[in-house]
C-alpha cells in the first residue's frame, strides 16, 4: 500500500473542502432549518407523535440521512469528475498507485466532509428539538457507513459522467426520490399495506430504519436487514469500482 499517496490525495481534497467551507456548510444548515419549519412545525402540529416519539424529534435521523446521502454523492462524484474534466487525472494514472488507493483517498475525503456536515446538522437539530441517542456507537457507525457507501456510489457516478448534466442526473432522478420515499419523514408502518411492501425494495428504507433505531431504539425493519443492506450496497459499489479500474472504463484511452 502506498499510504503516502493516499494521504496526499486526502489532504489535497480536504484542502479544497476547507477553501469552500462556507458554501459546504451554510446550505445544509439552512435547508435543515427549513425542513424543521415546514415538517416539524406545520406537519408536527397535526401528527404530534410517531410510536411514542415527538414528530419533531422523529424526523431528525431521516433529515440527517437525507443530507448525508446527498452530500456524499455530490462530494465524491465531483471530486473525481473534476480531475477528469480539467485533465489533471493524468497524474493519478501515471502515479505508482492502484485503484484501491485512489478510491480510499477520494472516497475518504468525500465521506469525511459528509460526516462533518451530518454532525453539524445534528447540532442544528438539537437547537430545535430534544434529541436522545440510545445507541451512540451504533449511531456513529451507521453514519460513517452511510457516508462511505454513498461516497463510493458518488465516485462511480463521477467516473461515469461525461458532462455536468449527467453528474446531476442520477442524484436528481434516482437518489432524491428514493430518499424522500425512504421513510425519512414518516414511519413506513403509516403507509397502506401494498405501499409498505413496495417500499421494502427501497434500500434507503433500511438505512433510515437502522439509523433511527440507534436514536430511539425502534425500527421499521429488523436491524439485521439494515446491516445486511448497507454491507451489500458497499460491496456492490466496490465491485463496480474494481471493474472500472481494471478495464480503464471512461478513464483510460
Amino acid at each position: 500500500m502506498n499510504w503516502r499517496a493516499i494521504q496526499a490525495i486526502y489532504i489535497y481534497e480536504m484542502t479544497r473542502t476547507v477553501r469552500t467551507i462556507w458554501q459546504s456548510v451554510v446550505s445544509p444548515v439552512i435547508s435543515t432549518s427549513l425542513y424543521f419549519v415546514v415538517f416539524g412545525t406545520a406537519i408536527g402540529s397535526r401528527i404530534d407523535q410517531v410510536e411514542g416519539v415527538a414528530y419533531g424529534s422523529f424526523i431528525v435521523p431521516g433529515l440527517i440521512m437525507l443530507s448525508v446521502i446527498m452530500q456524499s454523492i455530490s462530494n465524491a462524484s465531483f471530486g473525481i469528475y473534476f480531475p477528469k474534466f480539467i485533465g489533471t487525472i493524468y497524474e493519478l494514472l501515471a502515479a505508482p498507485i492502484n485503484f484501491l488507493e485512489i478510491v480510499i483517498g477520494y472516497v475518504g475525503a468525500a465521506a469525511t466532509k459528509a460526516l462533518i456536515i451530518g454532525l453539524i446538522i445534528l447540532a442544528t437539530a438539537n437547537l430545535f428539538v430534544d434529541i436522545r441517542i440510545e445507541h451512540p456507537v451504533a449511531m456513529v457507525a451507521f453514519l460513517v457507513l452511510t457516508c462511505l457507501s454513498f461516497s463510493l456510489m458518488g465516485f462511480i457516478i463521477g467516473i461515469w459522467a461525461k458532462n455536468f448534466e449527467q453528474l446531476q442526473l442520477v442524484p436528481l432522478l434516482i437518489v432524491t426520490p428514493l430518499v424522500f420515499l425512504g421513510g425519512s419523514f414518516y414511519s413506513i408502518t403509516m403507509l397502506p399495506e401494498t405501499w409498505q411492501k413496495i417500499t421494502l425494495f427501497n434500500p434507503v428504507v433500511y438505512l433510515v430504519s437502522g439509523f433511527r433505531w440507534s436514536f430511539f431504539g425502534m425500527a421499521d425493519v429488523a436491524l439485521g436487514w439494515s446491516l445486511l443492506a448497507i454491507a451489500g450496497f458497499t460491496g456492490l459499489c466496490l465491485g463496480i469500482i474494481w471493474w472500472i479500474f481494471r478495464t480503464g472504463w471512461r478513464i483510460k484511452a
Binding site: R4, A8, K252
Partner: protein
C-alpha cells in the same frame, strides 16, 4: 551504460479504430537525451501516454529501468516524471499544493526544502502561494515541470515542452535539461522543431504515422546535413561513368546528363578543383554546375513523404 527504457513492438489501436502506433521498438540508454521528432498525429503523445500508464497498450512490452510498466507498474512509475503536452492544472489550487501532491502520489514524504529548491530552480519560488489561474502560460508550463521533478525522477518525459514558450524560458528549459542530464537523468522529449532536437538531443528519432522511421545519433545526422551535393550538368549524357573518375564516387542524377558529387563542407579539401580538372581530362564537357545542401529538414521531410507514399500504396 545500461538500457533505461526498452520499448518492444508496441502497437496501439484506439477504441475509435485508429492505429496510432504500428509496432514501435526503441531502446534508450541511461542518461541519454532522445528527441522524438514528428508531425501532428504521428503518435508521440500516444507512445508517452502508454509508457506512463495513461493509455492502455494493445500489444507489446515496455520496461523502465528493467521494470515492466504493467506487471511492475509501481517500480516503473516511481522512476518516471511526466510533463504533459496539455496544460492540465487545477486553476484554484496554489502552486506549492499541487507540487506537493505530485510528490506525495509517488509515495515520498513531504520535503519542503527539496520542493523549494525545485521551485527556485524554475523561478517559481515567489509564486509558491499563488493560485495557478493567476499565472501566465509560461509559468504554468514551469509548474508542470516542477510537478514532474517533485519526486526526483530517473526518467523524464517532456511532451512538447517549448510549444508556446518564449526564447527566455526555452533557454532556461534547456539549461535545466542539461543539469538533469549531468545528474544522470534519462530524458525523452518530443518536438516539431529540428533545431531544437539538434541543440539538445544525443539521439534523434523520427516518427510518423505510428512508425519510427529513423533513430540516429545527432552528430551523424548533423554530418549528413553538413554534406553538400555538387550537380554537374554535361553536354552529352554518359551511360557509364569513366573509370578514371571512380575515386569521386559520382552518381547519376535524375537524368543521364547529370552527375552528382557529394562532399563534406567541413573538410580541409573539398576536392572540387581536382574533380573539375579530371572531368575535362576524361573528355566530358560541362554545361552547368550548381550546389545544393541536404539539410536535416530535407532528410526529415523526405522520410515522412516516403512513408506516407508507402502507406498510400
Amino acid at each position: 551504460m545500461s538500457t533505461m527504457l526498452s520499448i518492444r513492438d508496441v502497437r496501439k489501436v484506439y477504441d475509435g479504430g485508429g492505429e496510432a502506433l504500428k509496432g514501435v521498438s526503441l531502446e534508450i540508454e541511461e542518461g541519454e537525451i532522445l528527441a522524438l521528432l514528428g508531425p501532428n498525429g504521428a503518435g508521440k503523445t500516444t507512445l508517452i501516454s502508454i509508457i506512463c500508464g495513461i493509455a492502455t497498450l494493445t500489444s507489446g512490452k515496455i520496461t523502465v529501468g528493467g521494470h515492466d510498466v504493467i506487471e511492475d507498474f509501481r517500480a516503473a512509475r516511481r522512476m518516471i516524471g511526466l510533463v504533459p503536452q496539455e496544460m492540465n492544472l487545477e486553476p484554484f489550487e496554489k502552486v506549492i499544493n499541487t507540487v506537493a501532491l505530485s510528490r506525495g502520489l509517488h509515495g515520498l514524504p513531504r520535503n519542503d526544502s527539496y520542493l523549494d529548491e525545485v521551485l527556485k530552480k524554475l523561478s517559481l519560488w515567489d509564486k509558491r502561494d499563488t493560485p495557478i489561474r493567476e499565472l501566465s502560460g509560461g509559468m504554468k508550463r514551469r509548474v508542470l515541470i516542477a510537478k514532474a521533478l517533485s519526486h526526483a525522477p530517473r526518467v523524464l518525459f517532456l511532451d512538447e515542452p517549448t510549444a508556446g514558450v518564449d526564447v527566455e524560458l526555452r533557454k532556461d528549459m534547456w539549461q535545466i535539461v542539461r543539469e538533469l542530464k549531468a545528474q544522470g537523468v534519462t530524458i525523452i522529449l518530443t518536438t516539431h522543431y529540428i533545431e531544437e532536437a539538434e541543440a539538445i538531443a544525443d539521439r534523434i528519432g523520427v516518427i510518423s504515422r505510428g512508425d519510427i522511421l529513423l533513430v540516429e545519433e545527432t552528430g551523424s545526422l548533423m554530418r549528413r546535413m553538413g554534406r553538400k551535393d555538387l550537380l554537374i550538368e554535361l553536354h552529352e549524357p554518359v551511360a557509364t561513368i569513366p573509370e578514371s573518375l571512380s575515386k569521386y564516387d559520382l552518381r547519376h542524377g535524375e537524368r543521364d546528363d547529370v552527375l552528382i558529387y557529394s562532399y563534406d563542407t567541413q573538410a580541409a579539401r573539398t576536392g572540387i578543383t581536382q574533380l573539375l580538372t579530371d572531368l575535362s581530362e576524361a573528355g566530358l564537357v560541362l554545361r552547368d554546375v550548381q550546389t545544393r545542401q541536404s539539410s536535416l529538414e530535407e532528410i526529415f521531410v523526405g522520410l515522412v513523404r516516403d512513408n506516407n507514399a508507402e502507406d498510400a500504396a
